[in-house]
Protein backbone atom coordinates (compact mmCIF):
# COMPACT_ATOMS: atom_id res chain seq x y z
CA UNK A 1 0.00 0.00 0.00
CA UNK A 2 2.86 2.36 0.75
CA UNK A 3 3.83 3.79 -2.63
CA UNK A 4 6.51 6.04 -1.12
CA UNK A 5 9.06 3.23 -1.38
CA UNK A 6 9.11 3.86 -5.16
CA UNK A 7 8.89 7.49 -6.26
CA UNK A 8 6.54 9.42 -3.99
CA UNK A 9 5.99 12.01 -6.69
CA UNK A 10 4.31 9.38 -8.90
CA UNK A 11 1.22 9.84 -6.75
CA UNK A 12 1.07 13.47 -7.83
CA UNK A 13 1.84 12.65 -11.46
CA UNK A 14 -1.39 10.65 -11.68
CA UNK A 15 -3.50 13.76 -11.16
CA UNK A 16 -5.63 14.71 -14.15
CA UNK A 17 -8.03 17.62 -14.57
CA UNK A 18 -11.63 16.73 -15.44
CA UNK A 19 -13.09 17.35 -18.91
CA UNK A 20 -15.18 20.15 -17.43
CA UNK A 21 -12.07 21.91 -16.10
CA UNK A 22 -10.33 21.55 -19.46
CA UNK A 23 -13.39 22.95 -21.22
CA UNK A 24 -13.57 25.89 -18.80
CA UNK A 25 -9.90 26.76 -19.35
CA UNK A 26 -10.33 26.58 -23.12
CA UNK A 27 -13.35 28.88 -23.02
CA UNK A 28 -11.54 31.33 -20.73
CA UNK A 29 -8.54 31.46 -23.06
CA UNK A 30 -10.77 31.82 -26.12
CA UNK A 31 -12.54 34.78 -24.53
CA UNK A 32 -9.17 36.33 -23.78
CA UNK A 33 -7.76 35.66 -27.21
CA UNK A 34 -10.54 34.78 -29.67
CA UNK A 35 -8.26 34.37 -32.67
CA UNK A 36 -6.79 31.20 -31.12
CA UNK A 37 -4.24 30.96 -33.88
CA UNK A 38 -6.78 30.09 -36.57
CA UNK A 39 -8.55 32.22 -39.16
CA UNK A 40 -11.34 34.18 -37.40
CA UNK A 41 -14.26 32.80 -39.46
CA UNK A 42 -16.86 34.09 -36.98
CA UNK A 43 -15.67 37.66 -37.30
CA UNK A 44 -15.53 37.42 -41.09
CA UNK A 45 -19.13 36.17 -41.26
CA UNK A 46 -20.28 38.91 -38.89
CA UNK A 47 -18.61 41.57 -41.02
CA UNK A 48 -20.06 40.15 -44.27
CA UNK A 49 -23.57 40.00 -42.80
CA UNK A 50 -23.27 43.56 -41.46
CA UNK A 51 -22.08 44.81 -44.84
CA UNK A 52 -24.97 43.02 -46.61
CA UNK A 53 -27.58 44.51 -44.26
CA UNK A 54 -25.96 47.93 -44.71
CA UNK A 55 -26.20 47.67 -48.49
CA UNK A 56 -29.88 46.62 -48.42
CA UNK A 57 -30.85 49.35 -45.96
CA UNK A 58 -28.79 51.91 -47.91
CA UNK A 59 -30.43 50.90 -51.21
CA UNK A 60 -33.92 51.18 -49.69
CA UNK A 61 -33.25 54.64 -48.27
CA UNK A 62 -31.53 55.84 -51.41
CA UNK A 63 -34.38 54.45 -53.56
CA UNK A 64 -36.97 56.22 -51.46
CA UNK A 65 -34.91 59.39 -51.61
CA UNK A 66 -34.92 59.31 -55.42
CA UNK A 67 -38.67 58.89 -55.51
CA UNK A 68 -39.21 61.69 -53.03
CA UNK A 69 -37.00 64.14 -54.89
CA UNK A 70 -39.43 65.41 -57.64
CA UNK A 71 -42.19 65.90 -55.07
CA UNK A 72 -39.85 67.98 -52.95
CA UNK A 73 -38.90 70.16 -55.91
CA UNK A 74 -42.55 70.85 -56.67
CA UNK A 75 -43.22 71.60 -53.02
CA UNK A 76 -40.30 73.99 -52.92
CA UNK A 77 -41.51 75.68 -56.09
CA UNK A 78 -44.90 76.23 -54.48
CA UNK A 79 -43.32 77.57 -51.30
CA UNK A 80 -41.10 80.03 -53.11
CA UNK A 81 -43.70 81.19 -55.54
CA UNK A 82 -45.02 84.73 -55.19
CA UNK A 83 -48.67 85.17 -55.59
CA UNK A 84 -50.02 88.17 -57.32
CA UNK A 85 -53.59 89.09 -56.52
CA UNK A 86 -55.25 91.58 -58.75
CA UNK A 87 -58.31 93.24 -57.44
CA UNK A 88 -60.45 94.70 -60.13
CA UNK A 89 -63.21 96.98 -59.20
CA UNK A 90 -65.81 96.40 -61.72
CA UNK A 91 -68.28 99.02 -60.66
Amino acid sequence: MNDFKKDPLDLLRKKQPTDLQMHRWKVAVKMQFPASGSFPVGHFLQLTAAAGVGLVVGALIFGQGLKAQPQEIIQNAYDDATMEVVYTKLD
Binding site: L9, P17, Q32, F33, G37
Partner: protein, 165 residues
Amino acid sequence: MTASVNWDEIVKSLGPRLYRYFAASLSDSVADDLTQDTLLRTVRKYQDGQIDLSRGTIDMFAFGVAKNVRFEHFKQLRAWDSFEESPEMENPSPSAFDQLSEHEQTHRLKRSIQRLSTMQQEVLMLTIDQELTMAQIAQILNLPEGTVKSHHHRARHELQRMLEN
Protein backbone atom coordinates in the same frame (compact mmCIF):
# COMPACT_ATOMS: atom_id res chain seq x y z
CA MET B 1 3.33 36.27 -34.92
CA THR B 2 0.10 35.64 -33.01
CA ALA B 3 -1.35 33.50 -35.81
CA SER B 4 1.32 30.81 -35.32
CA VAL B 5 0.02 29.79 -31.89
CA ASN B 6 -2.92 27.42 -31.53
CA TRP B 7 -4.21 28.13 -28.02
CA ASP B 8 -6.66 25.24 -28.04
CA GLU B 9 -3.78 22.81 -28.46
CA ILE B 10 -1.70 24.65 -25.90
CA VAL B 11 -4.45 24.51 -23.27
CA LYS B 12 -4.93 20.82 -24.05
CA SER B 13 -1.27 19.96 -23.55
CA LEU B 14 -0.28 22.55 -20.96
CA GLY B 15 -3.43 22.63 -18.81
CA PRO B 16 -2.97 19.21 -17.18
CA ARG B 17 0.75 19.82 -16.62
CA LEU B 18 0.13 23.16 -14.88
CA TYR B 19 -2.69 21.60 -12.88
CA ARG B 20 -0.35 18.86 -11.59
CA TYR B 21 2.24 21.51 -10.73
CA PHE B 22 -0.23 23.43 -8.56
CA ALA B 23 -1.98 20.35 -7.17
CA ALA B 24 1.35 19.11 -5.78
CA SER B 25 1.11 21.51 -2.88
CA LEU B 26 -2.40 22.99 -3.02
CA SER B 27 -5.98 21.77 -2.92
CA ASP B 28 -7.60 20.66 -6.18
CA SER B 29 -9.95 23.64 -6.32
CA VAL B 30 -7.12 26.15 -5.78
CA ALA B 31 -5.00 24.29 -8.35
CA ASP B 32 -7.90 24.63 -10.79
CA ASP B 33 -8.18 28.40 -10.26
CA LEU B 34 -4.44 28.99 -10.45
CA THR B 35 -4.12 26.91 -13.63
CA GLN B 36 -6.73 29.08 -15.33
CA ASP B 37 -5.06 32.23 -14.02
CA THR B 38 -1.68 31.06 -15.37
CA LEU B 39 -3.10 30.23 -18.79
CA LEU B 40 -4.80 33.61 -19.04
CA ARG B 41 -1.70 35.50 -17.94
CA THR B 42 0.40 33.58 -20.47
CA VAL B 43 -2.03 34.51 -23.26
CA ARG B 44 -2.04 38.15 -22.14
CA LYS B 45 1.76 38.27 -22.04
CA TYR B 46 1.89 36.73 -25.48
CA GLN B 47 -0.59 39.31 -26.80
CA ASP B 48 1.45 42.11 -25.29
CA GLY B 49 4.56 40.77 -27.02
CA GLN B 50 6.28 39.94 -23.73
CA ILE B 51 6.99 36.35 -24.77
CA ASP B 52 9.88 35.88 -27.14
CA LEU B 53 9.67 32.35 -28.52
CA SER B 54 13.24 32.56 -29.77
CA ARG B 55 14.36 32.50 -26.12
CA GLY B 56 12.42 29.40 -25.07
CA THR B 57 9.30 27.33 -25.54
CA ILE B 58 5.83 28.53 -24.57
CA ASP B 59 5.76 25.76 -21.92
CA MET B 60 8.76 27.26 -20.20
CA PHE B 61 7.21 30.72 -20.16
CA ALA B 62 3.96 29.30 -18.83
CA PHE B 63 5.78 27.53 -15.98
CA GLY B 64 7.62 30.76 -15.26
CA VAL B 65 4.24 32.50 -14.97
CA ALA B 66 2.95 29.59 -12.83
CA LYS B 67 5.82 30.07 -10.40
CA ASN B 68 4.87 33.73 -9.92
CA VAL B 69 1.17 32.91 -9.62
CA ARG B 70 1.96 30.40 -6.87
CA PHE B 71 4.16 32.87 -5.00
CA GLU B 72 1.44 35.50 -5.17
CA HIS B 73 -1.09 32.98 -3.87
CA PHE B 74 1.06 32.18 -0.83
CA LYS B 75 1.72 35.86 -0.25
CA GLN B 76 -2.03 36.44 -0.08
CA LEU B 77 -2.45 33.49 2.24
CA ARG B 78 0.17 34.87 4.58
CA ALA B 79 -1.54 38.26 4.49
CA TRP B 80 -4.82 36.67 5.48
CA ASP B 81 -3.02 34.51 8.04
CA SER B 82 -5.19 31.62 6.97
CA PHE B 83 -2.55 29.06 6.17
CA GLU B 84 -2.60 26.55 9.02
CA GLU B 85 -1.19 23.09 9.44
CA SER B 86 -3.82 20.45 10.00
CA PRO B 87 -2.88 18.83 13.32
CA GLU B 88 -4.28 15.40 12.52
CA MET B 89 -1.94 15.03 9.51
CA GLU B 90 1.08 16.58 11.21
CA ASN B 91 2.95 13.49 12.39
CA PRO B 92 1.08 10.29 11.74
CA SER B 93 2.76 7.26 13.27
CA PRO B 94 4.32 4.77 10.80
CA SER B 95 1.79 2.12 11.70
CA ALA B 96 -1.05 4.52 11.11
CA PHE B 97 0.54 5.62 7.87
CA ASP B 98 0.37 2.07 6.45
CA GLN B 99 -3.38 2.27 6.81
CA LEU B 100 -3.68 5.46 4.82
CA SER B 101 -5.62 5.42 1.57
CA GLU B 102 -4.11 6.82 -1.60
CA HIS B 103 -6.04 10.03 -1.06
CA GLU B 104 -4.60 10.41 2.42
CA GLN B 105 -1.12 9.54 1.21
CA THR B 106 -1.41 12.27 -1.40
CA HIS B 107 -2.56 14.69 1.26
CA ARG B 108 0.40 13.83 3.46
CA LEU B 109 2.77 14.13 0.52
CA LYS B 110 1.45 17.63 -0.16
CA ARG B 111 1.90 18.63 3.47
CA SER B 112 5.48 17.31 3.39
CA ILE B 113 6.24 19.27 0.23
CA GLN B 114 4.87 22.40 1.89
CA ARG B 115 7.41 21.96 4.68
CA LEU B 116 10.37 22.06 2.28
CA SER B 117 12.19 25.32 1.62
CA THR B 118 10.65 27.54 -1.07
CA MET B 119 13.31 26.75 -3.63
CA GLN B 120 13.26 23.01 -2.88
CA GLN B 121 9.48 23.04 -3.30
CA GLU B 122 9.75 24.87 -6.58
CA VAL B 123 12.36 22.52 -8.05
CA LEU B 124 10.53 19.43 -6.86
CA MET B 125 7.20 20.61 -8.24
CA LEU B 126 8.70 21.41 -11.61
CA THR B 127 10.21 17.91 -11.78
CA ILE B 128 6.71 16.46 -11.36
CA ASP B 129 6.26 17.59 -14.94
CA GLN B 130 8.59 15.07 -16.56
CA GLU B 131 8.65 16.94 -19.85
CA LEU B 132 10.83 19.71 -18.47
CA THR B 133 14.58 19.12 -18.45
CA MET B 134 16.85 20.30 -15.62
CA ALA B 135 18.27 22.92 -17.99
CA GLN B 136 14.75 24.25 -18.69
CA ILE B 137 13.88 24.26 -14.98
CA ALA B 138 17.09 26.20 -14.34
CA GLN B 139 16.05 28.73 -16.97
CA ILE B 140 12.54 29.05 -15.51
CA LEU B 141 13.93 29.65 -12.03
CA ASN B 142 16.76 31.81 -13.33
CA LEU B 143 19.35 29.70 -11.52
CA PRO B 144 22.46 27.79 -12.63
CA GLU B 145 21.71 24.17 -13.55
CA GLY B 146 24.09 22.87 -10.87
CA THR B 147 22.20 24.78 -8.17
CA VAL B 148 18.90 23.37 -9.38
CA LYS B 149 20.28 19.81 -9.31
CA SER B 150 21.56 20.38 -5.80
CA HIS B 151 18.17 21.73 -4.63
CA HIS B 152 16.48 18.77 -6.28
CA HIS B 153 18.75 16.24 -4.60
CA ARG B 154 18.25 17.82 -1.17
CA ALA B 155 14.50 18.11 -1.68
CA ARG B 156 14.19 14.42 -2.58
CA HIS B 157 16.28 13.41 0.39
CA GLU B 158 14.32 15.63 2.77
CA LEU B 159 10.97 14.47 1.41
CA GLN B 160 11.93 10.82 1.76
CA ARG B 161 13.04 11.45 5.33
CA MET B 162 9.77 13.19 6.22
CA LEU B 163 7.67 10.45 4.68
CA GLU B 164 9.55 7.64 6.40
CA ASN B 165 9.40 9.25 9.84
